[in-house]
Amino acid sequence: MNTIITADQLFQALRETVVMVGVSLFFGALLGIPIGIVLVITRPGGILQNRFVFAVLNPLINVVRSLPFIILLVAIIPFTRLLVHTSIGTSAAIVPLVVYVAPYIGRLVENSLLEVSPGIMEAAEAMGATTFQVIWHFLLPEAFGSLILTMTTATIGLIGATAMAGTVGGGGIGDLAISYGYQRFDTFVILVTVAILIVFVQGIQSAGNRFARKARRD
């Protein structure tokens, strides 16, 4: 089968995807995990119940999450420029990816933490643990297995989003598929990129499941 891309181009794209997913996952988690924690502790009945914080944060996350990634990408270009002094290229793609994935991770983390049994929280409270101690010694360790699955889901979501990041010159596998495979009718590129994405997603999901199982001691 004929193709117009070189092996170098393919590896370059792979690298870009890995960088985009990796970096935005890192910053997304850095923002998203605290968001999830704040949601859980400030909710009504939470250990640091705070009507105001919860009432602002909760809908804000819904707003950001309801924007399609492609809209978000364009809408925050001024913000992206401010942050990384450019609006094209891989680093420019990472900013909207983080903005996209952080609230998503926040919501997933919230769900994971809410799965921790109220009995555990009660025991923590009975021991006179501070808010920080409750989070650090009870909530996070108990939700660890579930948090791994959360990050797995977020990573896979990011891989999908990076395909669109090509629009701002972010590059990556998805971009390769669109600009060569789809727009220039290169069937080989389509097949190869799709195969790579499938392997990525499958690999990440089964690794995530395995780690989660281990953490949960099933």
């Binding site: 049994s117 009995g119 555990i120 009660e122 025991a123 409270e125 009975a126 021991m127 006179g128 643990a129 501070t130 101690q133 010694h137 009870f138 360790p141 108990e142 660890f144 297995g145 953490a215 949960r216 001691r217």
Partner: protein, 367 residues
């Protein structure tokens, strides 16, 4: 020492208010194993959660070791909580941590160094008999073992009070007994005051020295366990007592009683020491009466025996009087069952009313 003064607790949920506690007064002295019993929904959990302020009273005050909890700052409150251990029906252990780490948590929260944590946890593991399970995870343990870990965790910070919320309700009778034995040992060896709630009278019977009976947010009866078991006042208390002590006379015995039968019917109650004395033997030998035992029941309440007996005494009224007097002098509570017909119709053992007892005494005095 724990003191609850006029505690009210009202919950509001979906616009509906629930009065979970309606003016509860309770005093648990140092060294007590105080049991609170009641049916589900009576307010027991709400009550015990007042003691470590997991739930705050709507009205009323809680005193722990003489100090009112409502005057404490959050920091002081956390400090006080570390002096109050708590164990739960469903153990509430961290599934993600080993037995060792679970027991260590309260000490980690206290920021103790690794070495002293190791010493204390090792000592506690020995105490609960699970030294070989230090590296196991809660999932690998049986219910009884989990509760032992829960107990060790509660004891880690050397509390003076242990709260037990239905601590044995998820366990089988055999395991329940071993956990209760462990609690008793904790009370005796570490001098820890225990407040426990349960819906099983057998639990109270085995280890408590005091009991309070709760119903619909109120304490309807409380006192020394022996007192309450021997002489329940409230119908609910009586039905709880009946779950562990047979106080009703079997049907067959009831029907075999006939008014024409020789002699008069008496109900005797023994408690403590006199239950083991050969009183009936002395009765027959020293007094000129015939003794026909129709029903007898002995119950063990910790180290004390509680006995109940229905006897038919035959002979001259004068002799019977002297026999009754003798029994009374030996600390046996005695009352005559006057109306056999009524007694039979009720088909259960009547609690002899005080006036009834007086009547017997008056009657016999009149002889």
């Amino acid at each position: 020492m724990i003191e609850l003064k006029d505690i009210h607790k009202t919950f509001t949920r979906k616009g509906q208010t629930i009065e979970a506690l309606k003016g509860v007064n309770l005093r648990v002295d140092k060294g007590d194993i105080f049991g609170v019993i009641g049916y589900s929904g009576a307010g027991k959990s709400t009550l015990i959660r007042m003691v470590n302020y997991l739930e705050r009273p709507t009205k009323g005050r809680v005193f722990v070791e003489g100090e009112a909890l409502d005057q404490f700052s959050p920091v002081q409150l956390r400090k006080t909580k570390k002096k109050i251990g708590m164990i739960f029906q469903h153990f509430n252990l961290l599934e993600s941590k080993t037995v060792y780490d679970n027991i260590a948590i309260p000490l980690v929260l206290l920021k103790q160094d690794k070495k002293s944590i190791r010493e204390r946890v090792t000592e506690l593991l020995q105490f609960i008999g699970l030294a070989d399970k230090a590296d196991s995870y809660p999932k690998e343990l049986s219910g009884g073992q989990k509760q032992r870990v829960g107990i060790a965790r509660a004891l880690a910070s050397n509390p003076s009070i242990l709260l037990c919320d239905e601590a044995t309700s998820a366990l089988d009778p055999q395991t329940t007994k071993s956990i209760l034995d462990l609690l008793k040992k904790i009370n005796e060896e570490y001098h820890i005051t225990i407040l426990m709630i349960t819906h099983e009278m057998a639990v109270i019977q085995q280890i408590c020295n005091k009991v309070a009976v709760m119903e619909q947010g109120e304490i309807i009866e409380q006192g020394e366990v022996l007192e309450v078991f021997g002489n329940p006042q409230h119908p609910t208390t009586e039905s709880f007592v009946r779950t562990v002590i047979q106080t009703s006379v079997p049907e067959s015995v009831l029907q075999s009683l006939s008014p024409e039968g020789a002699g008069r019917l008496f109900k005797l109650k023994f408690a403590g020491g006199n239950a083991s004395e050969p009183i009936i033997d002395s009765l027959i030998r020293k007094y000129n009466v015939s003794v026909n035992i129709l029903f007898a029941n002995m119950s063990q309440i910790q180290n004390t025996t509680l006995g109940m007996m229905i006897v038919q005494l035959g002979g001259e009224d004068r002799d019977i009087f002297r026999a009754v007097e003798f029994l009374g002098s030996r600390g046996v509570e005695i009352g005559e069952l006057q109306d056999l017909q009524e007694f039979q119709n009720r088909r259960k053992d009547p609690v002899i009313a005080e006036s009834h007892k007086d009547r017997v005494i008056k009657e016999v005095t009149a002889v």
